[in-house]
Symmetry: C2
Subunit: 437 residues, 2 copies
């Protein structure tokens, strides 16, 4: 009688990473690491669970009420699985605020959880490359963060025809909503949330949602005109003298000086979903016609560390999700061909050679190669078939003839080329073949 089997599917909205998937994930994460480290950023990590109150404070209603995984632990603590990394990094920085030299340049690649209906680009579990600098109040820090966001896109294989950074400033939009739209705080929040959803809405639906926030038709027109301003338009606009606009102008000047302006565009419709941003905000857009969407974003949050500490400390950063970035790489055909995970297979002539095979594999490993040794005595044809199925490029075999002459045979699996070399030259022969691949 067959018993009922458990499902082999992973939990909804999550992924299993089989070795071929994991190799790509490791390649992407290592590229992120190398880019961040090249700018002097250092990696950190925090726990998967945090206290619920950390997110309740600043992460925004939608996230906390609809998307957060939270529960009581066995000791009655109300805990949450981290949905984003910024509260954790702010907590960690606050804990050592007097001892870490500033600016603090940190990065991390945590897995994050949100309860969502799985769809393209959105899963319940994803990994996010977080890059943050703390302790610099000027837009020069925003510039460094934007340069890193551009550099990682280039290091993943993109070029400036593939992506564009849309940049705005929360203070500017905020001041505009106060002055021109005469909104109070809750009105501004409602309008921000609507603007943030703009890309997903038809124009008339967008206007209808704005009118539901209490805006008159004239004010809606004025808001839409404002969000469509380019730099020349902003320069002529009455808001140009406000501190948010001055910051934006200064940032674009520095971007030009650094020859990064061709990757960037002003877009006053950028708000970012999270409540804690206070200055520069930006989103990276894919320019491909099939995938024209925001890939990731970031900005300046000057008050987040203040949740944990009486000492103010400003931060700027971004978070780049692995799901959307992999979609980007697929769309632009940037997925790299990676080297073979196993380089050498040591075949087993018969069971009298078990010890020799393990010994030979050990010698090849010591030279730095990735080596599988045949475990059990089975037919040689079956062993070669296994090496072929696993795409192992080199097979090594020492039969009785070779052993008598202290030699060893190698076969290159793709070309079929074979040769026999003295035992002492085995590693050099393997190296020469692998280098040629």
């Amino acid at each position: 009688m067959k018993t009922k089997k458990l499902s082999t599917q992973p939990y909804k909205g999550t992924r299993d990473f089989y070795p071929e998937d994991m190799r790509l994930r490791n390649w992407i994460f290592n590229t992120m690491r190398t880019t961040a480290q090249s700018f002097g950023y250092e990696e950190y990590d925090g726990p998967m669970l945090e206290l619920f109150e950390m997110y309740a404070a600043k992460s925004g209603e939608e996230l906390v009420n609809e998307q957060l995984y939270h529960f009581q632990d066995r000791g009655g603590r109300h805990v949450a699985i981290r949905p984003e990394m910024t509260p954790t990094v702010s907590r960690m920085v606050a804990a050592r605020i007097n001892t870490i030299p500033r600016p603090i340049r940190w990065f991390s690649i945590p897995n994050l959880w949100r309860y969502e209906r799985p769809q393209k680009g959105r899963l319940r579990e994803h990994w996010q490359f977080n890059v943050d600098v703390f302790g610099v109040d000027s837009v020069l820090a925003d510039l460094e963060i934007i340069e890193i966001a551009i550099q990682i896109m280039l290091d993943l294989g993109g070029d400036f025809t593939d992506f564009r950074i849309h940049i705005s400033n929360r203070k500017l939009l905020n001041d505009f909503m106060t002055r021109a739209l005469e909104l109070d705080e809750s009105g501004k929040q409602a309008v921000c949330k609507t603007i943030d959803k703009k890309d997903k809405l038809q124009n008339d639906e967008f206007r209808r949602m704005l009118s539901q926030t209490g805006l008159t038709r004239d004010k809606i027109d004025s808001l839409i005109d404002f969000t469509r301003l380019d730099r020349a338009g902003l320069a002529r606009h009455e808001m140009i003298a406000t501190s948010g606009a001055v910051e934006l102008e200064s940032l674009f000047g520095k971007l030009k000086e650094s020859e990064l302006d061709r990757f960037c565009t002003l877009d006053l419709s950028i708000v970012r979903g999270l409540d804690y941003y206070t200055g520069t905000v930006f989103e990276m857009y894919d320019l491909h016609p099939d995938n024209r969407r925001a890939l990731f974003g970031g900005g300046r949050y000057d008050n987040l560390v203040a949740l944990f500490s009486n000492q103010p400390l400003s931060g700027v950063g971004f978070g780049m999700g692995d799901v959307t970035i992999q979609d980007f790489m697929i769309t632009h055909q940037l997925i790299p061909v990676l080297p073979p995970p196993v380089e050498v297979f040591v075949a087993l002539f018969d069971e009298t050679c078990l010890g020799e095979v393990r010994d030979c594999a050990r010698r090849i490993r010591r030279a730095g190669f990735r080596v599988i040794a045949q475990i059990e005595p089975v037919k040689l044809t079956k062993q070669y078939k296994f090496a072929h199925q696993k795409n192992i490029p080199v097979v090594v075999l020492q039969g009785p003839d070779e052993r008598a002459g202290n030699t060893i045979s190698l076969k290159q699996m793709i070309s079929g080329e074979q040769k026999t070399v003295p035992e002492s030259e085995l590693n050099a022969a393997i190296r020469a073949w692998l280098r040629r691949m």
Copy 2:
């Protein structure tokens, strides 16, 4: 008025990894990766959450009833945060049981959660290096897994005076409990659990707990004698002809042939806490007098894939936790000195040089170095102080004189040595200094 601040402490039983902690963690994990890959093992990963029923089936009562983090998600699914990786890997293997070439050699370094009272070597969140081979029924696979467990200890810097693998066989203990102790299944489970706790109990307390399982004094004597047998004693014991004893003898023969026997010892008191083991079981012991305890363990589990598939597939593996292994490294003074995370600091002469500094940093980065560029114009003494606090070995500065002559100055922070080189020789000069360190 000060508002109440949130705590900067991480959730109980978890760790924040500040950059210096993360560097060590990455070094340890990369060592694990390199060791596993050198044996042809490939990395995989699965989701942090799995369905509760996966653990309910086989992971053992204590884990499920007392230690598992589990809850209902917003859609009513009963989910658990993974407390161990073996059920996940068994699920993943079962899902592709007909397409993956065998043997399947996989490893992973997941973070795992157990609700525990935090104490030395035990935290609520820890990472575990999992190494498994599927599809080989003979003890030759057990031998390969034990060789990897030994190799990782050596690669972390240990030697054979630091650790010892204690090896037993579940089948042998099981058959002994049936024949000599005349126990039924539930009696055997109770006795196994008691034996597993032996290291933490005084002798009389151990005997008392065994008597509570219903064993007579004679049987307790006989059991204790049995668990103390060495190989010579086992050879004379009536159990020597049973399949578990034959497997053990065969395994020790192979260990000797591979010159691994000096790392290993027979220890019939090893059972392992988890219910699913069916053959060889082993635990790695620290030999240091201050830290004499089991560091990690593993074994053969022939029926776990059967939870998910009608096709049988046997597995052998081990799981090595990062907390205990770091304790081991500290005890034996094996913590390595790691290279500096940031190699070069590009100082800023004054604000007219902002563009040049960013440009110079970019050129040094392109040569593969990890470089911080000063963001804001501040006094040079403050910049040098920052470089010193962060232990950055090389500081680069281009003032007006250097700029006029297309040269650049370098300072080696430890020696205080300074020199000025043509711009075109900057990267070579940095490389030469860093290599000498």
